[in-house]
Amino acid sequence: MYTKTIGIEIHVELKTNTKIYSNSINGYGKTANSNVNVVDLGYPGTLPTLNDAVIRTALKAAIILNCDINKRMHFDRKNYFYPDLPKGYQITQAETPIGVNGYVDIDVNGETKRIRIHDIHIEEDTCKSIHYKHHSFLDFNRAGVPLVEIVTEADMHSAEEAMAYVEKLRELFLYADISDCKIEEGSMRCDVNISISKTDELGVRAEIKNIGSISSVGKAINREAARQEELLENGKEVTFATYRYDEKKDETIMMRVKEAGNDYRYFPEPDIPFVELDDEIIKEVTESIPMLASERRKIYVQRGISELNANKIIQNRDISDYLNNFLDTDINLVQASNLLLGDISAYLNKEEKSIFNTKLDTNKFIDVVNKLDKGEINSKVFKDILVDLMEKEDSVDEIISSKGIKIISDPEELKKIVLTILENNQNSVNDYKNGNERAIKFLMGQIMKETKGSANPELVNKLLEEELKK
């Protein structure tokens, strides 16, 4: 039986306004070569500056990953020739990464496992290149975008653990506002190192670069492990090489054989003097860390939300932030979360909007949740008024009345309707009296039909029970 041994390197683009070593805009979706200055192009004579937000964001990441912080750090040059590398070297951190010796706890099959972080370091992204026939086309908008790279120890032993680690890291960074962590769009990139062995001695590893999604991380690991196993079983050897994972073919494809000791000619960057991180900045950054996903999840479950729904909320940062506005109010949080995950999310997805860009302010939300909770409106009414709630400034009451929806909460008026329905549905009344409790649902439905859904359901229920027991 072979054991898999897995280490993961993840590059994450930091959410900042400007690039790491220059003050051009950090954003590369736009027109090619429009967010570029002479520093990004590696023009002769240019020098790097250092973006304060990059240091703070990377420091936050190092703190979240429980790392020891290098309080006096410098940068290093990694030298290699490639057209996407404008200076012919990448300014990175090799000797003094901002954080070392950290860890992340993951949950797999109900058990908690600790994955050690070797280091987290700061570096710059390269240009984006597009290939067409015999040429490549370079867009320097991405050159100099700030990255952190997080390197684990080889602590994972299954596809599930690897996926749980990536998901956990994504969740941490998303909630700490470090990155938008969009794997599909390249703002989070996973490289997986995997080897298999029957003994304590590790096997030859393969590196699978730039895997396109979290589920592919799992698939690629299993596929590569199977490939290695087949090789070993047939008396062949695994080649120390770099691969990519082809999702459609479910296949790992070799890109290049690794030369022994890739010669990056590292040396300390002389253009950037030491960066000192004093206790004050560490304290400031620590205090700036928002409530992270695991704590949110815990609170949601404590407040009665199912674990399934709590996870669904966590998956949508905006919804979670919105819900957190109500943690200190006395509204029914379960009711609130059901609305947010149900009709509201459906609306937001359809409209491609964030809840923060709607007219559903916190007062309106409290009002509508309370009305549902007290039965003053039912879910059908909620559906009817949803679009107006999201798009109009009006209060909940104003929206309800403008829709011509009248909630009948007058017991006298309702009683008349109840009695009429009971009279016209003697069969159901008899069924109920013979012990068929479900008959009451049918009667309820008839009343709602009669009132076009405007009857206060709680009151109708009460009246029905009273009358039927007579």
Partner: protein
């Protein structure tokens, strides 16, 4: 000890530096590079009085820049100096091992 590098050794350092050499240059450099390499070997004999390093001879520490965008170039301005451009892009022969 030979006073010249072998042809392979010269080609190896030329490759490290991405420099194509003519036959004449390979010949010339095989001796000159060896002279320089032997000369810097003197450093091996030097006794250190401290492990401290000077990376850059300044007492300054880095003062970071605020995260505020400055001026950027127009793509046309960039292309003025680009030997091979194609629209807004910089063009190169196809990059292998992407």
């Amino acid at each position: 000890m030979s006073d010249s590098l072998t042809r392979e050794e010269v080609l190896h350092v030329a490759r490290l530096a991405r420099i194509k050499l003519t036959e004449e240059e390979i010949e010339k450099y095989s001796h000159q590079l060896k002279t320089l390499m032997d000369d810097v070997d003197k450093i091996k004999e030097v006794k250190l009085n401290s492990e401290e390093r000077v990376i850059t001879p300044t007492e300054e520490v880095t003062v970071c820049r605020e995260d505020v965008a400055g001026e950027m170039l127009d793509p046309e301005e960039i292309m003025i100096n680009v030997p091979n451009s194609n629209g807004n892009f910089v063009e190169v022969p196809v990059m292998i091992d992407e």
